[in-house]
Amino acid sequence: MFLNIRTLLVALLFSATTFAQQTETETEKNTNQEQHTSGTKVGSITVGAYLPIAFGENFVNDGMDLKMGAQMQLKLNVLGDFYIGPALSFFFADVNNRALVGNYDEMSNMVLGGVVGYEKQVERFDLSIGLGVGYSGYFNKGLGDSFEDNGTALWLRPEVSYRLANYVSFYVAPELRHDFMNIDVPSELKDTFGGVNYFNLGFGLRINFGTGYKFQ
């Protein structure tokens, strides 16, 4: 008799506990869903490595060895899933064909510009595509002096980021970029110095701002 009552009490306790946990989980899930739909997404900042890859007939691809750089981008969500923000990137290069580019040793490139784009969340992924435009400076060193080439950079940058935690993601962003150069050259050199094509690769960390990025 006593054994039956004890068995019943244990069974009741177990079922009650289980029911209570299930209820709590559902409540949390509902709360999260509520936060997910009602939280705000302020924006994000990405900081990471930048691997430049030039292609085509131009002075960078034919006359330089490109080295790794870094990039940084701030996205501010201004209208639903649309964002704007500043972007900065830089990389370095060694001159390997002086007869083609001129007698100097090193180049560092920096792009400073603005981006307009669209971003969509899919599960733990944030997918975005941005169009950027900005100033592209080529700072050249050699001969004990420095001088500059510059132009206007235009780039298209899709980005995939995966949320490692609520506010931290890992991103990968290929980038198709063209620099319209301002270098004065005779007509024979227009193809080489008129512009530079890049297919660059960026990857690194992304910090998300706003409760709308909270996930679980």
Binding site: A99, N103, L143, D145, F147, N150, V185, P186, L189
Partner: protein, 225 residues
């Protein structure tokens, strides 16, 4: 010994001066320098060095190919004259890099403003030399006034105009010797096959001219007065 010391001091002073002078490279600009190098018979000259320089610093360099053609992209100096050196080892002493041929130096008047420097066909002649020995005869009481003209082995031209591309008789030296002067020897390098012109006046008399051929090995001409 003193001469060596003087040379070392002079060289050091040139180095010091040139290293202090700042080269300003023009932003956003590249030049194309092209042409063809041939000898006096029109045969292509391969492996001849071509450089652009400003303030004694190399802005670009290359060598002529098997057909004598060359093409190089150069930086440009913002304020200083630009030099295009053909077959010159160093712009400090303007020695010929290939000792068998003459050299050419093209220089802009002020800062260069041309983006395309097409030098066309550049003729580098073979080199020869001559030696003029001025001998003061004892007992004669003559004075000598002379002008020696010959073609330089380094031909200096303007980048803007291509006049006198062979630099005939571009080197002119004047001299005077009185009865007490010592004998002197004038050894000069010049273009093989050209002539040096020695014009002289003895005791302020009429001008007379002697032509000395430039040969290899050198022709030695002895002038007694």
């Amino acid at each position: 010994m003193k001469l060596h010391l003087y040379k070392i001091l002079l060289f050091s002073a040139v180095l010091l001066f040139t290293s202090c002078e700042k080269l300003e490279i023009t932003n956003n600009e590249r030049l194309l320098v092209k042409g063809k190098v041939v000898d006096e018979n029109g045969n292509a000259l391969p492996n001849i060095s071509i450089k652009t320089e400003a303030v004694n610093r190399s802005l670009a360099n290359t060598r002529s190919d098997a057909n004598g053609n060359f093409e190089l992209t150069s930086l440009n100096a913002n304020t200083d004259p630009l030099h295009v050196l053909v077959n010159i080892a160093s712009s400090i002493n303007f020695e010929n890099e290939n000792p068998d041929y003459s050299s050419k130096v093209y220089t802009s008047e002020g800062a260069n403003s041309q983006l395309l420097l097409d030098l066309g066909t550049i003729t580098l002649s073979g080199l020869g030399s001559f030696s003029l020995y001025l001998k003061n005869l004892s007992g004669d009481n003559n004075s000598l006034e002379y002008t020696l003209s010959y073609t330089s082995k380094v031909c200096r031209l303007s980048l803007e105009s291509n006049s006198n591309p062979f630099c005939e008789l571009d080197q002119v030296e004047n001299g005077f010797a009185d009865p007490t002067s010592e004998n002197r020897t004038l050894n000069r390098e010049s273009i093989l096959g050209s002539v040096a012109v020695f014009e002289y006046k003895l005791n302020n008399g009429a001008t007379q001219t002697i032509e000395i051929p430039v040969t290899n090995p050198p022709t030695t001409y002895v002038f007694e007065y």
